[in-house]
Symmetry: C2
């Protein structure tokens, strides 16, 4: 019988983007733009990506790094305030093994002609299968990929 | 324009139930039993209650206290380990106005012939429309209603 455990952690990331809140928000709301920074990456094979961006709507990602494990990320949107706030819950698994459940709050505020993004995440890791350090570093990399997509 | 704000809080409740983990788990998994302690209560009119208890499944509650406001609670299940663990994300609104988004971890451990239940909740309250004290007290009342249903 598997020994069950949960580890609860939270972290916050702040970032400035030179684009307006409207442009940054669209990079979360538009399936084609979000796919670019959220799931496309060198060496990753995307097996599925769909986004239904509305309260109660699902986002589903299934991808594989080279010949490695299949990673799934299922998301549901809990709150959306256009150009201002996105709150979502997501859960990940690797080869069908649940890894974690999380909730993320993203707030966008105008700063000069750009946007101050505050990203607050709460994670519950299952059976020690992932670490807070690795998750935070993955989220920082995604917000960096978002910057590259916005700048392109 | 509405002034946006979020308040992030967490609380933990521990409770002992004299019933087995299998019986306590069933009170979360079975729609008829859960309806009894989760939405039925004196003075409350239930407008909708459905439970699809599986990972990625929804639970939807819509109820009204006497002639008061319509409260909705939408839930999605993020992780389920039979008789051991339930992780869910939920979001509430009153008359269509979003109130909060939350994530709850429920762990069941055998203790003697009964069950030790640990309930850990993380809440994000929107625009000051609800308070941590009121939410925690509501959750304690639900876990008390669960005890009454289990004892009946």
């Amino acid at each position: 019988m598997t020994k069950r455990s949960t580890q609860h952690e939270t972290f916050t990331i702040e970032r400035f983007y030179p684009q307006t809140p409207e442009t940054v928000f669209a990079a979360f709301a538009d399936e084609a733009i979000k796919r670019r920074w959220f799931v496309e990456g060198e060496g990753w094979a995307i097996e599925e990506y769909t986004l239904d961006f509305r309260i109660g709507g699902f986002e589903r990602s299934r991808f594989r790094f080279k010949d490695g494990s299949v990673v799934t990320n299922d998301t549901v949107y809990q709150d959306i305030v256009e150009n201002e706030r996105i709150v979502l819950a997501y859960w990940m698994s690797v080869d069908g093994q649940p890894l974690s459940a999380s909730m993320t709050t993203i707030e966008l505020k105008p700063e000069g002609t750009g946007t101050r993004l505050t990203y607050i995440e709460y994670d519950v890791f299952f059976e020690g299968l992932d670490t807070p350090e690795s998750r935070e570093s993955g989220c920082r990399a995604l917000l960096e990929a978002l910057a590259a997509t916005l700048d392109a």
